[in-house]
């Protein structure tokens, strides 16, 4: 594997995580439990889609095959998307959405904090930019997890169920293969074990305050990074890709 192939894989993975979670969150538009949260969730979605645009444009540049962020986002088959399974999971109730967001934000913050010192200048620049937005998202999702977990009996039970359901998708946040090993050796990406240390400490602290229990049954799913997705992915892509498939090359 060449450095460019590894860099393409890595950038595409980060870009797909942002794109698919951004798309999922956009489904809340007009359906938020209160107006303020409707606006908050769609603002976060917009930040993620902006980050996806930066990342996928950079992936296209590395690949050098005459594609751009739009072609990559809208014209691939399901097996070519390499986002983690966590981000494609259904929105569920507000607690499910906040739990998925918290687990993700708590990973993205240390990732971007370390990636902003990458030897690859463009990845470093994207990380520096995205970090400011991610800090704000993490504050929002952490506060909701504590409020719901340490809230009423009903909110506690429901958000505990969200954690129990979503925990099994968290190992995949730290998925690595030969692309990551190569880029790690070249000082282009941070060490995943260091990100995991910060992530674990942060989620444990928030769950403690939220009086939530990390499930004991630790069976973990994976497959998204290799293009093997859950049954929810096809429906998401059908909506994401509809306009480009029905009206090829259409523009606003």
């Amino acid at each position: 594997m060449t450095k460019n192939e590894a860099l393409f894989n890595y950038t595409l993975r980060l870009g797909d995580d942002s794109l698919i979670l951004g798309q999922r969150l956009a489904e809340w538009c007009g359906h938020g439990p209160i107006l303020e949260e409707d606006i908050a969730i769609t603002n976060i979605s917009l930040d993620l889609i902006g980050q996806a645009t930066n990342l996928l444009n950079y992936a296209a540049l590395i690949e050098n095959k005459d594609r751009n962020a739009d072609n990559i986002a809208f014209l691939r088959l399901e097996k070519e998307y390499c986002n983690i399974l966590l981000v494609e999971q259904l929105n569920g109730d507000f607690g499910d959405t906040m739990m998925r967001q918290f687990l993700f934000d708590a990973f993205r913050k240390p990732l971007f904090e370390m990636l902003q010192f990458s030897k690859d200048k463009q990845l470093a620049a994207i990380a520096e930019k995205s970090l400011k937005e991610t800090k704000y998202h993490l504050k929002h999702s952490s506060e909701w997890i504590i409020r719901l977990g340490d809230g009423t009996e009903e909110s506690h039970q429901r958000v505990q169920n969200s954690l129990t359901n979503l925990w099994r998708y968290t190992d995949e946040l730290f998925f690595t293969d030969e692309s990551d090993t190569l880029l790690g050796e070249l000082g282009i990406i941070p060490d995943f074990s260091k990100i995991k240390e910060v992530w674990s400490a942060n989620v444990t602290a928030v769950f403690e305050q939220a009086t939530l229990q990390i499930p004991a049954n630790n069976w973990q799913f994976e497959g998204g990074r290799k293009g093997r997705h859950s049954e929810h992915m096809g429906y998401l892509l059908a909506e994401l890709q509809y306009m480009q498939r029905a009206y090829p090359n259409m523009e606003w």
């Binding site: 303020e36 949260e37 606006i39 908050a40 603002n43 976060i44 917009l46 930040d47 993620l48 889609i49 902006g50 980050q51 645009t53 930066n54 913050k109 200048k121 463009q122 470093a124 620049a125 994207i126 520096e128 930019k129 995205s130 400011k132 937005e133 800090k135 704000y136 993490l138 504050k139 929002h140 952490s142 506060e143 504590i146 928030v206 305050q209």
Partner: protein, 161 residues
């Protein structure tokens, strides 16, 4: 030959489509103006990664410079150093307040949980007795506040460092 200063003065006439009281110069998104390979290059930086106003700004810049007779203008985008509200001009801050949007105040670290919200004086009556309604507002760059003294709900231009 047009000078750099002239270009900057023309860019003063291009406004932010989401906060039209601000010019793109006030907003601090114009990072560089240079003449290279026989054409003018304008370098912009986005306020937020997904700011939907960036594309409109680019089109407005091209249109404005075309009106002034410059047809081969190139727009470049840079992400680093990342935009900060420190780049908002003094004049821009005054214009925001006069328009009814509270300008950014120095804030505590964003990652602190349940930190007390920043005290933002009301842009209408200047009272400091205001409260945060939502961390997220009508655009990516704003949060939503309400004044407890005069009851005015208002936008706050979030501090971003």
């Amino acid at each position: 030959m047009v000078t750099k200063e002239e270009i900057y003065s023309w860019l003063e006439e291009v406004s932010d489509p989401e906060v039209p009281v601000l010019s793109i110069i006030d907003l601090g998104v114009v990072r560089n103006v240079s003449f290279e390979n026989n054409s003018w290059q304008i370098t912009l930086t986005p306020t937020y990664s997904g700011c939907p106003a960036m594309q409109t700004m680019e089109e407005e810049i091209l249109l404005k410079l075309k009106e002034r007779g410059l047809s081969t203008v190139k727009i470049l985008t840079t992400l680093s150093p990342a935009w900060t509200t420190d780049w908002l001009s003094e004049n821009g801050r005054k214009k925001l307040k006069a328009y009814g949007i509270a300008p950014p105040e120095d804030e505590q670290d964003k990652s602190l949980l349940f930190s007390s919200p920043t005290i933002v004086p009301c842009p209408v009556c200047n009272s400091k007795n205001t409260r945060l309604i939502s961390q997220f507002g009508s655009t990516a760059c704003k949060a939503h506040y309400q004044c407890s003294a005069c009851q005015e709900p208002f936008d706050y231009f979030k501090c971003l460092k």
